[in-house]
Subunit: 502 residues, 2 copies
């Protein structure tokens, strides 16, 4: 059995315990690990490291680079206080707290940027790469598991590689990956990808076998969690969005099969995809970061022809169903490195339709995706910037309010900008949809207020716009009031201004 | 003589006066014209149109699309009140005023986006294209003059084309252009460009000869203006920047010939390029929007091997010198459409070094390039977003202060965001340089305050950062004070806070 997984007999001598492997990670090192939304992350060495460091009781800090969010390791390491720098994305409760206390230096990056920054020496080089695999080939090449993320570039750049060989991950994953390395900037050929499902690379991470210092055998499935099911409001947003796309098709602005779809992680994007289930759309393609439950449901229903991503992000039930039916999905799924799934040139070439989530949107269409009240990091920008700027059609979705109506998601000025108005085509809330294409700021404001804001907040927004417009300017603002809604929430617990005449 | 310019005899019958040609432009139409920084813009039909409309005295509005800024026409048309929508960039005093009064709907766009928006139907389609040419071939193909900008896509998408055949533009410009059309999104091949000087397209705008409705003969050189000469402070900025690049070369992060350089329009970027004159650097390449005076000086000095852009942007003296020595520059210059000069995929592939100008920068590295005091449009974002996000190394330059020190260009929070901190690697002022790569927000703030801010404002900035950091958060802010510097300037005429202990 192990010979199927470890195809070079000599490598058996490198099998070590997690406890031994973790001793190779030293204070001050930079560690690049596999894992993207808990899929294919390393499962035992990080916790062994935390245990070891606790026992030793000496000062110890590492830089931790991942694909995106990971499961337990982020929380454990943050709590143990062993992270100096963390990039490019996280979504862990305890890590988030450490970041917001300023204890962890968090580099919130466009997910396609990390590999380039490593190549150009803009960030610390990788000392140790920790990669989950389903197998290692005779040549010592690594066959990854349920995500690719940055694993390839971390393995390539690392001095030392530790592989977690996970017997619980289905060997039938072999062949799903497509690993293409663009090479050094300035010496590159054009990336040959011209369609969502095309294969252009290797199914393995090709590295020098001598870099594999140790192999830790594990036997744990990915951590999976239930997706928040669609509620009435996410369903309304999905309806608005699908209807808009159908109208674009009718008007001849989009082909019948649309263009390849990207959707961010989360229940809103998932609800939108479920919205396609009820539509007449067929022959859909997906070119996205994550492949969520809905993608597989749409494949099963004959709606999606092919789906490309850099990770599976599945609920417990769907994880089991997909992993035990991989042959059924084999011709319809491609897993790529995140610098390929999120590549600006490819996104523009294919003309994607990008659907991402906002925390808040301002009346001019600037989007905050990351910072609660402008200061507290939620998760990170992730790939939304890669897609928003380069797609053919860019949607941002948010419920029009939060905290039982005490927060309006539509505000005069966002408290932090992740996506500027130049990159936002359409804003969707449960209230409706604002098509901002071809509109100047004052026109955008009217659309967003009347179609997206919650009715409770429209009078306040109209009053702000009126006061600002009277002052003039291309993007009118009353600077002393621009962030007053956030200040009011902090001081009174609601953004509602009782002095505005309703 | 005319036969060299008008190579199909039948076209002679389509020669018309500007007065006649302008009658084909009707109320409500969308007009796409050539011109990028006054280079190669149409010179007589727009003013004839303004005269005609004034005479007729009837309601008249058109949408005006260009490459970027143009010369006299923007001011004339803005003053006549005949513009409904204007895109994607302008820099005219009178147009700016009309925009800020809300009379002109201005779409401030990434310069690489306009062509894609036309293809996908996101903006009004072109009714009439007005293109300056040096010649029209036997097949009716248009040979452009000193800029390419969006001329190709406007001509391709237009119902009707009017050519201004400009006898004052040197015929030796023929062959400098390289017009590549990527085709429809979703049906594209990879753009084959792999080096700055490579030619991949046609030297002509290839259109159906029947679309050329009229040809207006003109005889006017481009409007040129003197570049603001470097002053002590722009020279200091250039020194900081060139020294930084030399250190990157020494550390092996950049090759000796650097990577292809991009620089925005203006005196700062020009000064930086002059800084290379004094350096030991050779074999430089340029892959930029505009080719300014300094590019030709560096070619003359044997420093620049090849330069690609979408327009010449020259001073009066340099315009004369370049235009009468085109054979000398022929092998070193390529003019491309702006969707190619600014193409995200190409910018990343070549690994550019991008140098652009900021109006203001905040302590976390967010950049405002467009809006004075957050509301008044100056010019537009132009191509800075295309380059900043996709380059290997992104610089933003600004003097640390404006208005005799009454405005600090380094502020707690920018009043408008064009470039988010994710896209800003290095900030340069005359005070020094902050290398933000690999730094989290609180670390970035220290670098920017200590290295870039004017000493007069450092105590205030430190006080803000300290107060904000005590409140916590990944990107600490005191929301009620975040824009208070701008408000103070509006109310008191200075950003200086006399209550801060110095």
């Amino acid at each position: 059995m192990l010979s199927q997984r470890l195809r070079n007999d000599a490598l058996r001598q490198r099998i070590v315990s997690a406890e031994e492997a973790c001793t190779w990670i030293e204070d001050g090192m930079t560690v690049g690990i596999s894992g993207f939304t808990s899929a294919g992350d390393v499962k035992v060495v990080p916790s062994a490291l935390v245990e070891r460091v606790k026992k030793e009781g000496k000062p110890f800090k590492i830089n931790l680079y991942t694909g995106a969010s990971i499961s337990a390791a982020d929380g454990l390491m943050a709590e143990a206080g062993i992270i100096n720098c963390r990039l490019p994305y996280q979504s862990d409760r305890r890590m988030r707290k450490a970041i917001n206390r300023g204890e962890v230096h968090y580099l919130d990056q466009h997910l396609s940027h990390t590999a380039e920054m490593l190549r150009s020496g803009a960030i610390h080089t990788i000392d140790v790469a920790l990669i989950e695999a389903i197998a290692i080939t005779e040549e010592g090449h690594i066959i990854p598991s349920t995500s690719l993320g940055n694993s390839h570039i971390y393995a390539q750049q690392a001095q030392t590689i530790i592989v977690e060989l996970n017997l619980a991950q289905n060997l039938a994953l072999e062949g799903l990956h497509d690993i293409y390395d663009p090479g050094e900037q300035g010496h590159r050929l054009p990336i040959p990808l011209t369609s969502a499902g095309q294969r252009i690379g290797s199914t393995k991470i090709e590295i020098d076998i001598e870099k594999i210092k140790g192999i830790v055998i594990t036997n744990r499935p990915d951590f999976t969690s239930e997706m928040t099911p669609p509620d009435a409001e996410t369903e309304q947003m999905a309806e608005h969005l699908v209807q808009f796309l159908m109208e674009e098709v009718e008007q001849g602005h989009l082909p019948k099969h649309l263009e390849p779809l990207q959707s961010g992680v989360g229940s809103v994007a998932n609800a939108v995809f479920y919205g396609f289930l009820k539509s007449d759309l067929t022959d859909l393609e997906v070119y996205s970061e994550v492949l969520q439950d809905s993608v597989f449901e749409l494949i099963d229903a004959g709606k999606i022809k092919v789906a490309s991503g850099c990770a599976f992000t599945l609920s417990p039930a769907r994880y089991g169903q997909v992993m035990s039916n991989l042959d059924k999905y084999r011709d319809r799924i491609v897993l790529r490195p995140q610098e390929m799934s999120n590549n600006p040139g490819i996104i523009r070439r294919l003309g994607l339709i990008a659907i991402n989530t906002a925390l808040e949107v301002d009346i001019y269409g600037n989007v905050n995706s990351t910072h609660v009240m402008g200061t507290q990091m939620m998760n990170g920008i992730g790939g939304s910037g890669d897609f928003a700027r380069n797609s053919r059609l860019t949607f941002f979705c948010t419920k029009s309010y939060a905290k039982d109506g005490k927060i309006s998601s539509i505000v005069p000025m966002v408290s932090h900008v992740d996506h500027t108005e130049h990159d936002v085509d359409v804003v969707v809330t449960e209230q409706g949809l604002a098509d901002l294409r071809g509109l100047a700021p004052r026109q955008r404001a009217e659309q967003i207020i009347e179609h997206c804001a919650h009715p409770d907040y429209r009078p306040q927004l109209r009053a702000y716009l009126e006061e600002a417009s009277a002052l003039g300017g291309h993007t009118p603002h009353v600077l002393e009031k621009a962030l007053s809604w956030h200040v009011r929430f902090q001081q009174t617990g609601t953004m509602k201004d009782e002095t505005t005449v309703h």
